[in-house]
């Protein structure tokens, strides 16, 4: 009983973060269904690393450890990063990426609420620049590669780097559908020819398109429970669709259809879970539209003309830098200063 208001809505940062984490579950479930349980290992590894790094950094910074560990924000970073890394990546890759995300991208900037960049995307950027080879060996949906590993063999590979005799990494993994598309376009093949390859499904990559659908369901839950507003997902996916549609209409042999872009790579995950990170995205609705449209433009440019297979992470980081400027120039009019009477 110190000052008004004396009542408050029963809500907390921890609950918001938890709901976002729960919204990832449909996507993860479909991930496991199509690609096996290895992803759960990286999620667990990332979670443990994130909590340990967070605790250590809070201790170094002389901040209370309990309330910040319980806010679930480190866990959310861990899950998002784990979902961006190939499940078969060696254990230390997950650990290094997560530790960097939490220690450097989050805690050194001041911890919860103070990081200008999305920590998970900083972690991802560090990994793809430092360990590009490890970051491109993805699990294939069942039945699409020469040999498949049992879960025990996968665990053995993740933790010791040892494959069963007579198998190479290339034999058990593949590039992402976006990566494959890019490589084959460089080989002067047409989009139509490439999409006939067995790794492609109806909308994007086989399996991965279903995972994207899972994330879409989770994202709709976030919208319905008003944890995120519609501005960023709609502007991001809408802009990506429009940009891809323009290129596709002009030259369909070299530019893949817009729906493929939406359901490939991290577009859906980015639209609902990554770009919407409140800390590193704009606070004004108009700003959110600009931010998301800019991210969509960069995503497309990096995917189609850039050097990386997917562009969501770099697009996010580049737009994160612009947030203070965007917010400054998109301030809404205050009550009584609207200049118009209706």
């Amino acid at each position: 009983m110190f000052f008004s208001p004396f009542i408050s809505k029963p809500d907390s940062v921890a609950q918001i973060m938890l709901k976002v984490i729960l919204a990832l579950i449909p996507g993860i479930a479909l991930y496991v269904w199509y690609f096996g349980p290895a992803i759960l290992v990286s999620i667990t590894l990332a979670s443990i690393t994130a909590l340990a790094t967070e605790a250590a950094m809070l201790k170094l910074r002389n901040r209370p450890i309990g309330p910040f560990l319980k806010d679930n924000s480190a866990l959310l970073t861990a899950w998002l990063l784990a979902l961006s890394i190939p499940p078969l990546a060696p254990w230390w890759l997950v650990v290094v990426g997560t530790a960097f995300a939490i220690a450097i991208a989050k805690q050194l900037y001041g911890g919860l609420g103070n990081n200008p960049f999305n920590p998970a995307m900083v972690g991802y950027a560090v990994l793809i620049i430092s360990f590009p080879v490890h970051m491109t060996h993805w699990l294939a949906p069942q039945g699409l590669v020469l040999a498949e590993l049992s879960f025990a063999q996968q665990l053995q590979y993740i933790f010791s780097g040892v494959l069963p005799p007579s198998l190479t990494l290339d034999a058990i993994s593949m590039a992402t559908p976006l990566d494959t598309l890019k490589t084959h376009l460089h080989l002067e093949e047409s989009v139509q020819q490439i999409l006939n390859m067995p790794i492609y499904g109806h909308l994007g990559g086989q399996g991965s398109e279903m995972v994207a659908l899972g994330f879409l369901i989770g994202g709709l839950y976030l919208l319905a429970s008003r944890i995120i507003s519609w501005h960023i997902p709609v502007a991001y996916l809408g802009s990506l669709f429009i940009i891809a549609a323009i290129f596709h209409l002009v030259d369909p042999t070299h530019y893949v259809a817009p729906l493929f872009h939406l359901f490939s790579g991290a577009a859906i995950l980015g639209a609902f879970f990554i770009l919407t990170d409140p800390v590193s995205s704009p606070t004004t609705n108009k700003g959110r539209l600009i931010f998301a449209a800019g991210a969509a433009f960069l995503t497309y440019m990096i995917r189609v003309f850039g050097g990386f297979p997917d562009g969501v992470a770099f697009a996010t980081l580049l737009m994160n830098i612009s947030v203070p400027l965007i917010v400054l120039y998109t301030q809404p009019k205050v009550f009584g200063k609207k200049g118009k009477q209706s």
Binding site: F3, S4, P5, S12, V13, Q15, G111, G113, N114, V334
Partner: protein
């Protein structure tokens, strides 16, 4: 059906109003002692016009309005003035204020009352009568009503009667509308007459159907209101802070009071329904403002509304409703914007402070009803505060500027358009006491502006002094020079010229004249 407008944001906290509307308004008994502050209204403190030991009658003037924005204060009952000194009042600062202590004689004996018919008086006379009757806004700000009725040449189109009562727990206006609607409507008609307004709109939240029905009935029954058919009761959506004047004006008329302006600037004026009631009592019955309806609710055995004399100690009032044993404090006002009153001996205003004209509600608090605030986490910029802000502000940015003491930027982001409704704090998932930060920033800015004003005045004084010293020096020197010159001239004048000197002077003058002529011709005929 009238078209209603809406304002941005707002929240729906649990209303907790039904507890205190089960029983009719009851008169609270005379206490053993009344403490009547001389500063119960916005503006200047009233000047005491009674002495210790004086016997006063109920309704007798004890404080004279002092200054343009000020209001009269009266003895709430008959009795003896036992003291005029500094006493604690319900102000968040916890600082004492000048009060009269009145020991009732139990007779409750009135002064002679002078009822007037408002139609037979000029507006200026009515304003003076209201000022001397101590009529102030009863919605919470206690702004002297006569000042709000002095509108100059502005045309008032709409008079709004605020019966929204949007804060949880509070029901004093609701019960007053249910029970005394006829007098509210008559008071509203007086206000309409004084403002020469075209229409009177009663804004009542739709969670008070009984009050709405009572008002409608009173309007139909009222002769004067019937005459101009301009009174209309409007059920507005229940949303906090829908009862805030600017938001209510927006909902009813679609107009936005421009930032830094008054409602009268857009042809609207707004009064609380209880104020209208008081206006009617003050004129039609000649009764000054001596009592008001107060809701006692929260952690009590029997929540209800009381008609309470100004000056009754709040603890005696709460005792009528019997606070439960786990009561750990009191709130004067509602849970969104109220002021905490602490139990005895705790810092801050205590519960023994008196009921004043602005006291609409006292809530007994317990840890169960009002759990202690959770520790604040950093802001995650989730913008839930933006979504609920009725002033379209960016609370998360204002918070950032306030805590980093960037007051200039806070002002640039319209800090002073914040109405401190608390909606942002209510929804904040990081449990940041946002309003507290805004209050801090506002008071810092005001203090700095005051300091700057003082510094400017000091500099001006200093500059003027320098200027004055300089001028005095110059004037002294000039005077001295003039004196010397005068002395010399006098000396010369004292000596008469000799004839020789006279011829010399005449010769000199003739020569000068000649030279001038030559020079002149050279200019006029350069080649000659």
């Amino acid at each position: 059906m009238r078209k209603l407008f809406h304002f941005h944001g707002g929240i729906h906290p649990p209303s907790n109003k039904t507890q205190s509307t089960q029983t009719a308004i009851t008169s609270a008994p005379l206490p053993t002692k009344l403490t009547i502050p001389f500063h119960q209204h916005a503006g200047e403190t009233a000047k005491p016009v009674v002495k210790v030991g004086d016997h006063v009658l109920k309704g007798q003037l004890i404080g004279m309005p002092d200054g343009f924005v000020s209001s009269a204060v009266h003895a709430s009952t008959s009795g003896t003035i036992a003291a005029i000194d500094m006493q604690l009042i319900a102000h968040p600062s916890g600082l004492p204020n000048l009060c009269a202590t009145l020991i009732p004689d139990g007779k409750d004996e009135w002064v002679t009352l002078n009822p007037v018919d408002y139609r037979s008086h000029s507006v200026a006379e009515l304003q003076q009568l209201l000022r001397m009757a101590g009529v102030v806004g009863l919605g919470g700000a206690a702004f002297p009503s006569d000042v709000k009725l002095r509108i100059g040449k502005q045309k008032i189109k709409t008079l709004i009667l605020n019966g929204a009562e949007c804060e949880p727990y509070i029901t004093c206006d609701d019960m007053l509308m249910r029970e005394r609607a006829a007098e509210i409507v008559q008071g509203a008609e007086i206000l309409r007459f004084m403002l020469d307004a075209d229409e009177v709109l009663y804004g009542v939240e739709d969670n008070k159907p009984e009050a709405i029905a009572a008002l409608q009935q009173a309007i139909t029954a009222s002769k004067s209101a019937q005459q101009n058919k301009s009174h209309e009761v409007i059920a507005i959506p229940t949303i906090y802070p829908g009862g805030s004047a600017k938001q209510l004006i927006r909902v009813l008329t679609g107009l936005e009071v421009p930032s830094g302006k008054l409602p009268t600037d857009i042809g609207v004026q707004c009064f609380n329904v209880a104020t209208a009631y008081t206006v009617h009592r003050a004129l039609a019955h000649g009764e000054p403002l001596l009592s008001r309806v107060v809701t006692i609710t929260g952690n009590v055995r029997k929540a209800q509304n009381y008609e309470v004399l100004i000056g009754v100690p709040i603890n005696e009032l709460v005792a009528l409703s019997v606070a439960l044993s786990d009561t750990n404090g009191y709130i004067m006002g509602g849970p969104m914007m109220g002021v905490p009153l602490h139990a005895m001996n705790a810092p801050g205003p205590a519960v023994q402070v008196p009921v004043v004209k602005a006291t609409n509600c006292v809530i007994a608090a317990s840890a169960k009803l009002f759990p202690p605030p959770q520790p604040a986490l950093p802001c995650i910029r989730c913008t839930r505060c933006v979504e609920v802000c009725p002033a379209d502000l960016q609370p998360q940015d204002l918070y950032w500027f306030a805590q980093s003491k960037e007051f200039g930027r806070a002002q640039a982001f319209s800090l002073f358009d914040c109405i401190e409704c608390g909606a942002c704090s209510y929804v904040c998932p990081s449990h940041i006491p946002l309003v507290q930060y805004y209050r801090f920033a506002k008071s810092e800015i005001r203090a700095r502006e005051y300091d700057k004003l003082l510094a400017d005045q000091a500099r001006e004084r200093h500059d003027y002094r320098e200027h004055r010293i300089e001028r005095e020096k110059r004037e002294k020197a000039e005077k001295l020079a003039a004196k010397e010159k005068a002395a010399q001239a006098a000396k010369l004048a004292a000596q008469p010229l000799t004839p020789q000197q006279q011829t010399e002077q005449a010769e000199l003058a003739a020569r000068r004249e000649h030279i001038r002529e030559v020079a002149q011709s050279a200019v006029e005929h350069p080649e000659g």
